[in-house]
């Protein structure tokens, strides 16, 4: 994996400036509260009702949360993160609302502002807390509804709001719209000598990507193209539906989430694709795989696969051969794909910064540094320290995360080197070190943790 470091630094420098581009909606506090309340009420279903009636305030969930464990700060207890939702539920929907109203405080705009930090900056919706909760409460799902309420109330972190607004208004991310995408893909194809079928009218597989991959991590796309061509697939990239990242889902703003997934659905339908492949991105996958049909209002006429899931199937079927162990590099994939579908839960999913990178943190760099320092000081229980201690501060390149998964007797990182440009690097990239960079476990550690695989 090669990353143009100048471009990378430029990008990193752009993140703080994003906030200035956000255009917060003008709303009175009363309107904000009403919007949040209405969103909560519309989204609470029987499962959530049952969960909110069950919590025993035992605190176990905190011991699973990668925000609480290294900081030991009670404010990060997962059970606190859905408190506003619970208050609205208890006052307005619960069968005992006539009683609860007597002693359950209503929500107000200050509460919404206070909870912004907890639901956006302090939760990756990784789902780990649901694995420890003795009552079986799915906190991540409720945090997502919290985000939806806050998003409709216009209380989204400014950087995220800027991204969500760009995707909502123009369908682009970091300025990469259809024209830019076509340009980049054609340039890449020419320079790298790899055929990338663009805007085909008919194809079995629609491959999606992301603006960030096109701009910064385009080795990922080249590697994907090599593999698809190697397999002889009928596939295409389409400029009318290529952006898999979904800032609507990430921010909780459903309108944008739907618009983004509809673009992909239309593009897939236009070329008759029976499979849509989602690149490495912790939120793109659940957005398309689980949410898109519900927002669309009917079942999708194609299957949705994460790239690593697709590759795994090819390895299992023998169409892709793996190189012997030791000759490849380690890969990695997002924690949200570990703890949530498609792979099944890896209970030893790391307490690391991998997942936290998917947000746009205002103080994220400082936070991750702190996390790493705490680990190094030994503030984590042994079992975590052993698995997470980085040998040096190490920045985990996003592109290297996708394929750290074992399928059958082999590992996706053992894909033949020629498929990723002569560098053995997972299917699509390898870890990149930046001295003094931030957080994140090395990808290497991850593999020691992978077990309990789910096979398709």
């Amino acid at each position: 994996m090669t990353v143009d470091m100048q471009l990378f630094e430029k990008f990193a420098g752009m993140i703080p400036a994003l906030a200035e581009r956000a255009q917060p909606p003008h709303m009175s506090d009363a309107e904000r509260v009403e919007k949040a309340r209405a969103t909560f009420l519309a989204n609470i279903d029987a499962d959530m009702a049952s969960e909110m009636e069950s919590c025993i305030h035992c605190g176990h969930c905190a011991d699973a949360c990668h925000y609480y464990v290294p900081t030991q700060d009670p404010k990060y207890a997962p059970v606190r993160k859905f408190e506003l939702l619970k208050r609205v539920y208890r006052r307005e929907l619960s069968p005992l609302r006539w009683l609860h109203r007597l002693y359950t405080e209503d929500i107000n705009a200050d509460d919404l502002r206070k909870w912004q930090e907890l639901v956006y900056d302090s939760c990756t919706e990784c789902g780990r807390c649901a694995m420890i909760c003795p009552m079986g409460i799915n906190i991540a799902g409720m945090v997502n509804v919290m985000r939806q309420g806050l998003a409709n109330a216009g209380i989204i972190p400014a950087e995220m709001m800027a991204m969500e607004q760009e995707q909502g208004a123009h369908g682009s991310i970091f300025g990469v719209g259809p024209t830019e995408m076509e340009q980049i893909v054609q340039d890449l194809s020419r320079k790298q000598g790899v055929e990338i079928p663009l805007n085909r009218d008919r194809a079995d597989i629609l491959v999606t990507t992301s603006g960030l991959d096109l701009l910064l991590y385009n080795d990922v796309l080249i590697a994907t193209a090599r593999i698809m061509n190697h397999l002889g697939e009928s596939w295409t990239l389409r400029s009318d539906g290529f952006e898999a990242a979904n800032f609507g889902l990430l921010s909780g703003y459903e309108k944008v989430q739907k618009a983004a997934s509809e673009r992909l659905i239309r593009a897939a339908e236009a070329c008759g694709a029976t499979t849509v492949i989602i690149p490495e991105c912790g939120h793109a996958y659940p957005s398309m795989r689980w949410d898109a049909a519900n927002l669309h209002g009917r079942q999708l006429p194609f299957r949705v696969l994460a790239i690593s899931e697709y590759l795994g199937q090819k390895v299992k079927s023998g169409q892709l051969k793996l190189t012997p162990p030791g000759q490849g590099q380690e890969g990695h994939f997002p924690r949200s794909l570990q703890t949530r579908p498609p792979f099944g839960f890896d209970r030893r999913a790391p307490l690391g910064a991998g997942g936290t990178r998917s947000r746009l943190p205002r103080d994220g760099v400082a936070w991750r540094n702190e996390l790493v320092l705490r680990r190094r000081r030994g503030c984590l229980p042994d079992r975590y320290r052993r698995r997470t201690a980085p040998e040096g501060l190490r920045y985990q390149d996003r592109a290297g995360r996708c394929h750290g998964r074992r399928f059958g007797g082999g590992h996706l990182r053992q894909l033949p080197a020629e498929l990723h440009g002569g560098r053995a690097a997972g299917a699509v990239g390898q870890e990149h070190r930046i001295p003094g960079g931030t957080g994140g476990r090395g990808a290497a550690g991850n593999h020691a943790l992978i077990k309990d695989q789910h096979h398709d």
């Binding site: 049952s50 009670p74 619960s94 519900n294 079942q299 579908p341 099944g344």
Partner: protein, 217 residues
Amino acid sequence: MTLLDFARGPALAWSLYILFFGSLLRLVGVLLARKHVDLSQPRNADTLGDSVRTVFTRFWFKPEFRASTLFITLIGYAMHIGLAVVVLLFVPHILFISKLSGLSWGGLPNDTIMLAGAITLAALVAMWVRRLQNPLMQAISNWEDHLALFITGLPVLTGMMAYGHLFQDYPTLLAIHILSVELLFVWFPFGKLFHAVMWIPTRFKLGAHFSRRGVKA
């Protein structure tokens, strides 16, 4: 009417009505809440087995969480098992239940029951101290949590006092014991003690949710 007559008569009847109808109201209200139809393609269409499994696997934590949860889980079990032994295996309780329902079974020696009661009380105190002392527990606790511990502990304490004939006045102590049980009955459907019912549907639903997505819960 003496206090004991009141406790054994109208107070018992009313508390049982409240227990039954309050629980029914809450449970049915929750189970009948609106369901969202999921149109996404399931990974597993048949989730029943996994759902039932999750109801049982959550009785014990996953190995990764052992260090952080073992102690408090054991205390929780000491409390719950101790309480079950005291409630269901103390001979006078069996006679009482038998009068109400016609069902009967064998009990344990009184000394064993007292030991179980003491363990239950000690566990409740440990849970309460943790709630008061631990910064995490302080942050997530509210008055309902404290009340639940108190309401659970009171019948055990008064029962042990009555059995030991403390303070001599047995009928009054017995009446207080029965009233404390009735207080538990009355509060049960409205507070967090209701988790004693909710754990089944909630675990089941989580199991179904994850199974549908192909995740081991």
